[in-house]
Amino acid sequence: MSEKRVKTTIDMKNLKAGGFIKERDKDLFTVRLRLPGGRLPVPRLRKIAEVAEKYGVEFVHLSVRQSMELIHVNISDFDGIIHELGEGGQKVATCGSRLRVPVACGGCEYNPNGLLDSQASALEVDEKLFATPTGHHKFKVAFSGCPFDCPKAAINDVGFIGAVKPELDRDQCISCGLCAKTCAEGAIEMDQDTKPLYYPEKCVSCGDCVKVCPVQAWIEKAKGYMVYIGGKWGRHPLVGTKYAAFLPAEKVVAFISEVLAWYREKAQGLGRIRLGKVIISEGADSLLDHLRNSFPDYVVETTLTHRVLENK
């Protein structure tokens, strides 16, 4: 037995944040790329294609959470792939019990419905909280720019939905009726004087009235994120409930950090448990009170009772 054994060398510091997922076959891994908000500049796309081709990757998988995954990467190619992707500014994502790469819709930059810059928020959270260990389980964050909520905020551990609180300046109003017709919720009706009447209890804060008003009679009295906490999907789905309203975008990182602090503390000794399950055992008031300390102007009075959706 004089065969020479080949020793694979791998730089372990590249693997610290995860993002390498073992496949079925020996030595093969999926490499998950870090694309916050699912945005991928074309030069980086080109670089990914170039590196993938060089290392024999035949196809990529577009993951459910907006990542691009390189399939069938050999473990011995880790260092080379990471180095070459890095030259093009492309990093590897994460996995396991960490804060994951946030997902987001296109946001207000180019989508006519967008109210908040969900892309900027996803980038900021990724930059400041990427792969933060939770000590318990995965932690998912999503940003929707408007109440259409394409990213499905409420099935994330913390989900954000852009919202606007409208207010009418009656003196500016020209009684055109466009706002009442545009409102899909019946929250605006024209009254006898042909001025709009606003029913806030029906309003979903989409801002359509503000957008359609030809004379800026409807204005944005408040603008920020509605925050849903405790959601997940999977084997035992949980729908997150509302914990804060009109949270300013610049407070998002601090808000998530406080949720993480509560989660870390309350889940101690409970093992691998998602945030929503901890809320069920601790009660939502505990988390509401904790968040109210730091965000008294935005945290809501009460929230719905979390319940596992027994839909299996």
Binding site: C176, L178, K181, T182, V212
Partner: protein, 75 residues
């Protein structure tokens, strides 16, 4: 006036594109009436035309459809 663009039974995104093309032959500052179906069209088209830079003037219901009045504003 006489500027009428009839977009009834024209779906998205053709209604917006047809409006845009029709507005090309309207003089700047002229008032146009756009006929729209109830539903998606009347909910979305006014905002899109506002975002294009035109001036919305009013909306009235008329025999099951809507008439959007707007002034063409060229860039």
């Amino acid at each position: 006036m006489g500027n009428i663009i009839d977009l009834r039974s024209v779906c998205c995104p053709m209604n917006f594109v047809q409006a845009k093309l029709a507005l090309e032959s309207v003089e700047n500052g002229m008032v146009v009436e756009i006929l729209l179906d109830d539903g998606e069209a009347v909910r979305n088209l006014p905002r899109s035309l506002k975002f294009e830079g035109h001036r919305l003037l009013g909306l009235k219901e008329c025999e099951g459809h809507y008439i959007l009045t707007m002034e063409k504003v060229a860039e």
